[in-house]
Symmetry: none
Subunit: 227 residues, 2 copies
DNA sequence: ATCATCCCATGCGTGTTTTGATTGTCGACG
DNA sequence: CGTCGACAATCAAAACACGCATGGGATGAT
């Protein structure tokens, strides 16, 4: 995920930028639409956070330009203009969401996530993957369940990461093997079974609810609810 | 576009409903999540407008349920709870947008349009196959009829999936055998009959209407209406 | 050299799948 | 009106595959 912030107020822009970076999201800033346009030509952004009161070209016009050229970029308008008329115009020119200043950063973040959630192939790449009380920090490779810290081996970790990135999805052994062992699956081995077993011993054995479930004849699935 | 409004305040719900209908959008209302769930099982909605303060099951929980089962439905939360915490929770459970009461109808309309426009971009194939109140989530392999969860074996599941992907189509045993057992049909076995029987026991026996029908001399057909 | 990690092979118990025989249903025809 | 035959539904035992556990060997790191 790469975000472009277009705002002529220096403070606001850098405040958002540093906030996003705390979440591991790359962010660039642009003071006006002309600069913004150039940056979008150079790099490909997943989202744009856009002010309306901009010098030269205003936010509405810029929004239309983006929509035309980069059809699938998520656009979030962030402005002091809070009247319904303004909002309607914003959505009219193609914004995906509209947030009024002053704002809480956490809400901005949540809205940004929401508009990206659909578009992206997988869910937004959050640094911390969560399911029930199990957490996996992809960056630090730290795994904890409840308040217990767990130590996994490299392979166990890769497997868990794959599971957590595909929650509620039934997966065959072949699928898992190809993604976690990244060799085309050599039939006649049961590594997957063995490692699922290892994982279970560490993350499920002493806890509840169980997260890794077996689907007989199909494979495995990671999900929260029992059965 | 078909919208479901879940709100226990009668006035609000019907206000929105009639507003949407002015725009030629079909809208249904449900007073609580249980009713809402049933309606979603029967018809397929593009969007849900969801209150949080609901009797029995609150909006957050219902939102999660919807997200799980109907991945590609747009959810807009509409509630009096305006704190950032509430909003965050809303987005956390999978809402696409969050609007605080009191609201202007025009803004609701604009936001509804925005979240649907966005969703239409990527062709997300529906993962939930439906017929009457029977649902098969192809991704998680979960099968439910009404609100009962059913457990099928791998072969039963494959058969059901084949049936549901070819609704209202008469199919011979040979056709079924080739697709579900993927061996060229060894005449002289009655596996198909046996498994249709197993399936019926699980998905049709205690329910109505019956979905799997026998065509004597031809084969089987899956369809909703009796005969 | 020692240790942890990773992968493979084997065997067992259990649930699933298949088979083959029996029972049930319905229409045609004597 | 009863019988027969074709077809479908049901049943239960047998064959089979699947998933899980375990021990041990190969590999690589310290």
């Amino acid at each position: 995920m790469r975000v472009l912030i277009v705002d002529d107020e220096e403070e606001v822009a850098s405040f958002i930028k540093s906030g996003l970076e705390d979440y591991g999201i790359v962010a660039d800033t642009a003071a006006d639409a002309i600069i913004g346009q150039k940056m979008m030509a150079e790099k490909s952004y997943t989202s744009v956070i856009l002010d309306i009161n901009l010098p030269i070209i205003n936010g509405y016009e810029f929004c239309q330009i983006i929509r035309e050229r980069y059809r699938d970029v998520a656009i979030l308008m962030l402005t002091a203009l809070g009247s319904t008329e303004h909002k309607l115009t914003g959505f009219d020119v193609g914004a995906d969401d509209y947030l009024v200043k002053p704002f809480e950063f956490r809400e901005l973040m949540a809205r940004l996530r929401a508009i990206n959630r659909r578009r992206a192939v997988g869910p937004i790449e959050s640094v911390v993957l969560k399911m029930a009380d199990l957490e996996l920090n992809v960056k630090s490779k730290e795994v904890r369940r409840g308040n217990r810290k767990l130590t996994l081996t490299a392979r166990e970790l890769a497997l868990l990461e794959y599971f957590m990135k595909n929650p509620n999805k039934a997966m065959t052994r072949a699928e898992i093997a190809e993604n976690v062992w990244d060799v085309s699956f050599d039939t006649g081995t049961n590594v997957v079974d063995v490692y699922v077993n290892y994982l279970r011993k560490k993350i499920d054995k002493d806890f509840s609810p169980k997260l890794i479930h077996t689907l007989s004849g199909i494979g495995y699935i990671m999900k929260e609810d029992e059965t």
